[in-house]
Amino acid sequence: MGAVCAIQMAYNLQNPIVPRYLIGLGTRETMLLEFSSTIVALILAGKVGSNIASELGTMRVTEQIDALEMMGVNSACYLILPKIAAFVFFIPVLTVFSMAIGLLGGYVASFSTAGLTPHDYVVGITSFFRPFYVTYALIKSLVFAFIIASVSSYHGYYAFGGALEVGKSSTHAVVYSSIVVLMFNLILTKLLL
């Protein structure tokens, strides 16, 4: 994503009045503010959300959740809470990783992009840095992680029927968690920036 950002910005900012380091700066801001948290969350909604929903849905239709209830276990707490906790705990790592990879991608692209040099790019990504942008991205990612894990768990946990319903619950989990992530993206952006 960082590489694509850098290439597209270089393509659009060909005006000699505009300093070249702005390409790196723009890439960094885009990566930190939006792509590293929101796009990663949407990708994870597809990957992790469908996984959680189909796993819980299968447990429901094969009566494994009933078996847990039968043993006096609070099945929702036992199955869902660790998933939410693990996802919320780990998503900041993925977000920071995504930021680093994105910025590195832009740097690699700067070697082969007309109108952009690696030096300009490095100057751009190291200029006017506001640490709050990283905090903002991490706050968003934490909220998104909670949304993805809880919405997907809800759809999986309350699935009933057979294989078809498990498939449907998995699809619903991805669709609804993506929509809720996008809605909260707007709300958090309005609140935090």
């Binding site: 094969t62 009566e63 494994q64 009933d66 078996a67 209830e69 039968m70 043993m71 006096g72």
Partner: protein, 251 residues
């Protein structure tokens, strides 16, 4: 003893059970029979507390299950074991871990003690050298036996089996049936088995309850089942044309 008193169950607007009354005795294999969709599983899940009853009551040795709070229900659940229709073994756990699971939840046993008890139970159901296998790596009959081992791990007073031999061949079915019967007598458990397998009815049924469209139509022993005089039960027992002819010939 488990007493079911005037139990009715509705899902939304669909009434599934109508005023069911029954007594299930300890040390006996109590069978609930009936066609698919007659309400056997719903009744068993109501008894086990997995479904709440719409009206009526369920008494465990005189204690009203419906009047219990969550803590009391959790206590009584320690005394229950259940074998689900598909086994309901946890896919991500090995056979041994599945049997150890209720021990981990309800007891303060050490890991070694839990493993020892799990192996005892697995040995009791003739599962040998499969402890480290996952449920997907063992046959359907073995899965059912592991489910029985898990159900008896806590030495339950009440054992529920929902169609324990569905999908199994007749020989394996009889093995499972005999195992349930032996465990029931050995540990003096109140066992309730849902089935529509007539082999099971004749083999292990001490007391049989016939449910038809959510209503209890008949109650008796396996010896009385052929002379019940209840048309719906006769149609269930002698379902095929050949069986009907045999019945006519025997008359």
């Amino acid at each position: 003893m488990i007493e079911v008193k005037n139990v009715c169950k509705e899902f939304s607007d669909v009434k599934v059970l109508y005023d069911i009354c029954a007594e299930f005795l300890p040390g006996k294999t109590n069978l609930t029979i009936g066609q698919s969709g007659s309400g056997k599983t719903v009744l068993l899940k109501c008894i086990a507390g997995l479904h709440s009853v719409t009206s009526g009551d369920i008494l465990y040795d005189g204690r009203s299950f419906c009047a219990m709070n969550e803590k009391q229900r959790k206590e009584i659940r320690k005394e229950m074991g259940m074998v689900f229709q598909g086994g309901a073994l946890f896919d991500s756990n090995t056979v041994e871990e599945n049997v150890m699971f209720p021990l981990e939840m309800f007891t303060r046993m050490t890991f070694e003690e839990r493993r020892e008890r799990a192996n005892e139970c697995l040995k009791r159901v003739n599962i040998i050298n499969a402890n480290k296998k996952y449920p997907s790596e063992i046959s359907g009959g073995m899965q059912k036996r592991v489910a029985i081992a898990r159900a008896i791990a806590l030495n339950p007073k009440y054992l529920y089996c929902d169609e324990p031999n569905s999908g199994l061949d007749p020989v394996t079915s009889i093995v499972i049936d005999n195992l349930i019967k032996d465990i029931t007598v050995e540990y003096n458990i109140t066992t309730i088995v849902n089935t529509h397998d007539m082999n099971s009815v004749m083999e292990i049924g001490d007391k049989i309850i016939f449910i038809y469209k959510g209503r209890k139509k008949w109650e008796g022993t396996s010896a009385e089942i052929f002379s019940s005089g209840v048309k719906e039960l006769d149609d269930f027992v002698f379902a095929s044309e050949r069986m009907k002819k045999i019945r006519e010939m025997s008359k």
